[in-house]
Amino acid sequence: MSHDDLRREVRDWLAAHWTGLGSVGQSMWETNDAMRAWYTKVFEARWSVTGWPEIWFGRGFSDEETRIVIEEFARVGAPGAGQDRFNLPANTLLAFGNDALRITLIPGLLKREITTCLLYSEPGAGSDLAGVRTRVERQGDTFVVNGQKVWTSGAASADYGMLIARTDWDVPKHSGLSFFFLPMKQPGVEVRPLRQITDEAHFNEVFITNAVMPVDNLVGGLNQGWRVLQTALAYERSVMGANARGARRGSADVVALARAAGRLNDPQVRQDIARVVALRRLNALNNARAKADLEQGTSSSIMSLGKLAMSRILHEEARVRTAIIGAESLLAGDAHPVADDVNFLALNAYFTSIGGGTDQIQKNIIGERVLGLPKEPELDRNIPFKQVRSG
């Protein structure tokens, strides 16, 4: 089929079926009946993962053909296509899961009937994620899980948690990890909301006590979890660089904020505005250049910079917004929505500069993987994990 024919086919299908979803979020964590119905329709018409093989719900399309499908969906604002690029759990399963687990979970994931959360960080394993101490042991035909996870979004509603846990304590830390899909709705899994510095509670702590799962829920092989996690993390970081969490409640842009505050004629404020507006535009230009490089088949170092750039943008914008409103930033609450907004942005900027790998870890990664600088010495790399110092 020619590209034009394909484009026409997608257009015709969308014209016949797409009627909009109303105002629903499209994040990884949110779902509702209308969304499930739409994603199911997309799945049944085989538009969800067109780049995947036909036996795995796809059409075996080339990158270019898949891009056409994604473009046509985006043109009318319809979600659900291109999940071979954007659906983290489904991609992880296709890459590393066994057939039984793929058949059980992938259709539900693509139809949004099954939701997931990430069981990665622990109180004792943040930047040093390979130091996780959640324990998984095999007992007959099941795995038994014990431990504590933190910074888990969507844990209360998730059907499955993508779990990284320790399965061998006698080998060095990276070598004793395994990756699982843990059923969340069971007695051994307790979810407690975590109150954030923004006074919101998007994250949870997850306490796992003798939770169980079938042995099929192991993904990527016993003690092969680090490799699976690297793939999943790289994906998560690239998504964070492109779509940062910034303004909420439609906060005004910096120019409008300065105008409203009567500060748009202040030379210092004007210089600051130019700097932060430029930072955001430069990041967009960098991302566009990275995309063009990829499309031309040349590798790009720019991709790994997006998340670092975005955390700087968010902190700098918040700093400038605070300077613009000045003493009003002392105030809070519904009677002071501008102050509330600015103060929220100042605090929430840490979501991007800490979450998904701190700026400092990102700089290590850029230095080592992009610039080829020597790796940090790791005192715990070649000793059995049970001998590794913790605290």
């Binding site: 004007r270 960098n286 250049r289 610039l371």
Partner: protein
Amino acid sequence: MAITTTLEERRAIADTVRKLLADASSEKHVRAIMETPEGIDRALWSTLAALGIAGLLVPTRFGGAGLGPVELELVAEETGAALACTPFLSSSVLAAGLLTESGDEAACARLLPGIADGTTIATAALTGARGSWQAPDVTVTAADEGGTTRLSGVASYVMHAAIADVLLVIARTADGHGLFEVDPRADGVAIEALSTFDRTLRLGRITFARTPARRIGTAGWPAVEAALRLALVARAGEQAGGARRIFDMTVEYTRNRIQFGRPIGGFQAIKHMAAELLLEAESATSAARDAAQQLAQQTQGADEAIDMAAFACADAFAQIAATAIQMHGGIAFTWEHPAHLYLRRARAYSYLLGSSGSHRERFVTRIAAQPEDVRIAS
């Protein structure tokens, strides 16, 4: 203006210039040229002219290559990386740009072929002692004396003034600004070479005392602004190229320099500086290329893209060149090490053709005039 070359052709142009400059504008070469009285490498300039670089912006009917901002920017990345000592920015960009923008066919036919083949070095006197490159700063005035136009006043920060064969001068007239051609050997022209912080860059101050001058078309300040747009795109390209080169040299050094028994690039203090500078270097390249592309396509956003590239590339180059010296340590505090050549260039280019502060001010003025949805979508 438009983009008339293919991506492949542009890559070939950049590769050719890069390979040529690797030999003909090596560090050793640059150091030798910057100590000469003229400060430019005439042999290199002839070679670049033969390749079509001197006439890159000159229309083909006047003997040039007839290319535009996108090709200009790519070539500038290479000349900037190599700190090439040539009149590229003064003659081929500013002067050729002014002439092309003037719409004066006779002046173009008289001057552009020589500029394009490298035999004429032209330069532009656009600013006064304050060096703002803005209209109020022009202090040269033109007066009609018995059918002869004569210029009086002082222009400063004129690139390659001392070696120029032709001076293009902006002056105040009875009805706004006008563009004039002056023979540097004419009566009433005094050219004083200024001692420069960046020795790869030559500047002069020109005093006009009832100097005879020839009016070029009816061009006024808008022609200067148009030429400055081209020159700022070229400057941004040179800054991005220079920034990238000193950055690469610095990262290479930190891979090889051993202290405490290991390469210093393995220490987070150094590694994190390198990661931050990579973001700056890539952003500078993105900004310079975007400005060139928007100018070539004459988009609505071209002016603000150029303003942004002007301050973003200047600031990135200055930060990278300055930090590069700190990352090298003592070796880069020596005259023999090339890092200071890049810092000198970076500091000079932060003010040549206008400061970052003034470009930020222009940028804000433009975006503040837009409706919010346009501003956010940009």
